[in-house]
């Protein structure tokens, strides 16, 4: 993989740091008036999601990481791996539970997700921002109670449990914001 000089550093650049792919989120020149110039960099480790800090001597080079994001269609999971497919090439990409992470709560067959690939292998899965999922189990609410704001737990078709308003019934479809895991609204088919 190509190396990047600190002169080329910018936000979003993918670098290999201590063996992990990381993305630059901040890059600052730190230089005393009469002394060595440094690039102080904050990066997000794309495998662990943690933010790390490193300082490089200005002019030094760092190895780039082969990271790209692609849209893949979710096929199915066998309990151990979640399987995704490129809609045009039909190439399949398996991702294990750790990589799928929170997305497993929201994935429905045929949903298109953004997958981050490192050296061709999935390291993270981002579901669509909003998904529509059917409520498979919830206690009946008080009829007509649209005002109270109180919530009850509900299980959706993926097995995830979310909080919904009391008026939502089993069998109904609801729109969920996957970034927060929160109910947004009912969906009319």
């Amino acid at each position: 993989m190509a190396s990047y000089s600190t002169n080329e550093f910018k936000n979003g650049l993918k670098l290999l740091i201590d063996g992990d792919p990381c993305s630059i989120i901040d890059n600052e020149l730190v230089k005393p008036g009469k002394g060595q110039a440094f690039n102080r960099v904050r990066l997000r480790n794309l495998k662990t999601s943690r933010v790390i800090e490193r300082t490089y001597k200005s002019g030094d080079s760092v190895e780039g990481a082969d990271v790209m994001e692609i849209n893949l269609q979710y096929l199915y999971n066998d309990g151990e791996q979640w399987h995704f497919m490129h809609e045009e090439s039909f190439e399949q990409y398996p991702a294990d539970e750790g990589v799928v992470g929170d997305a497993k709560n929201w994935l429905k067959e045929q949903d298109v997700c953004v997958i981050t690939l490192w050296n061709g292998h999935p390291i993270s899965v981002t579901p669509p921002n909003f998904v529509a999922l059917e409520i498979t189990q919830t206690d009946p609410g008080v009829r007509g109670d649209t005002a109270s704001g109180a919530t009850k737990p509900a299980t959706v078709e993926t097995g995830a449990v979310i909080k919904v308003p009391l008026f939502v019934d089993e069998g109904e479809k609801v729109k969920i914001d996957t970034r927060t895991g929160e109910y947004v609204s009912r969906v009319k088919d």
């Binding site: 910018k10 600052e28 020149l29 730190v30 230089k31 005393p32 008036g33 009469k34 002394g35 060595q36 110039a37 440094f38 102080r40 800090e53 490193r54 300082t55 490089y56 001597k57 200005s58 030094d60 760092v62």
Partner: protein, 320 residues
């Protein structure tokens, strides 16, 4: 491309006001405002400062003249010619220095007081900053003391392995390739400087190896009579009890050139006229160079230099 200035009318007015205050300050102290050229035949040898060379179309040589990185060399020639106390507010140019606190072209206030010690110089800076920032006198700490106090290391005696270990633990990559000063620079900028706290700090008596053009005081260890001023952790100014010895200065220039050669860097043209001026005789004096744009950042309470510059590097095409 956006034609509009980065800094707005508030910043323009604050700059004009600041310059007026500075001129009034030096007028009251009978320090003469001088003007020296931006272009010069010789330049700094410091391996960490990159001068911008201007091609000389008359003689056809590539490095005809250099844009000044500071007016120091020219002003010292005026001092040697008997100018007495002098100051100048002028542009300075340093290549490869761009960031939220750096711009290739910036403005320096530089002044020299014959007969002043480093302490006298700090007193005068206190007075100047009180007028510009309405602040209290700064706290004064030696380079050694501030390292002890803030990161529990002795910069002079801790030894390279200990300094390198701490630097690496703080996130420095490739520290092994730096000389000792480079490691100290990292520790200072990353660990000491951010902890200097609010208000003005003077850090004085730098390691002798970081003397630049200041005189070195013999002792255990020898220290450079050099001071740097920080405001809320932002570097504002650099000052010296000036080195007067031409032979010593030439030796330092040659050491710089050797370091540059070892690193495969360009060999800039040494300023022989400065060395001749020192041979003639520079009066005992001390001087400061202060970043006007940085001072303006503190006056306005802004975090980036772009907010005080009309058209910074970042406003030009192909910039971030």
């Amino acid at each position: 491309m956006n034609w509009r200035p980065s800094a707005g009318p508030g910043a323009w007015r604050a700059r004009a006001q600041l310059l007026e205050v500075i001129r009034g300050f030096f007028k009251a102290r009978s320090v003469l405002e001088v003007h020296t050229p931006l272009l010069a035949f010789g330049t700094v040898t410091d391996p960490h400062i990159h001068s911008i060379a201007v091609p000389d179309t008359v003689t056809g040589t590539d490095h005809g003249l250099y844009l000044q990185t500071s007016p120091e060399f020219a002003m010292k020639r005026l001092l040697a010619a008997g100018s007495g106390p002098i100051y100048q507010i002028c542009p300075a140019f340093r290549d490869r220095e761009r960031g939220s606190h750096h711009n290739t072209e910036f403005t320096l206030l530089e002044w020299y007081q014959p007969g002043f010690s480093l302490e006298d110089l700090m007193d005068e800076m206190d007075d100047l900053l009180a007028e510009c920032l309405n602040c209290e006198a700064g706290k004064r700490l030696s380079y050694r003391q501030v390292f002890y106090d803030l990161i529990e290391l002795d910069p002079h005696n801790a030894g390279r392995p200990a300094l390198l270990r701490r630097a690496t633990a703080l996130g420095l990559v490739g520290g092994g390739e730096l000389d000792d000063n480079g490691i100290l620079d990292f520790l200072f900028t990353h660990a000491v400087q951010p902890q200097l706290g609010t208000g003005i700090s003077y850090i004085f008596d730098y390691p002798a190896s970081q003397a630049a053009l200041s005189r070195i005081l013999k002792g255990q260890p020898p220290v450079a009579r050099r001071v740097e001023v920080f405001s809320d952790g932002l570097e504002l100014a650099n000052g010296y009890e000036e080195l007067l010895d031409a032979i010593e200065l030439r030796a330092r220039f040659e050491q710089d050139l050797a370091l540059r050669a070892a690193m495969g860097m360009q060999q800039p043209r040494v300023d022989e006229s400065l060395l001749e001026a020192l041979e003639h005789g520079l009066p005992e004096c001390a001087g400061f160079a202060l970043g006007i744009d940085r001072l303006l950042m503190r006056v306005l309470g802004v975090d980036t230099i772009q907010q005080v510059l009309s058209f910074p590097d970042t406003s030009m095409p192909n910039q971030e």
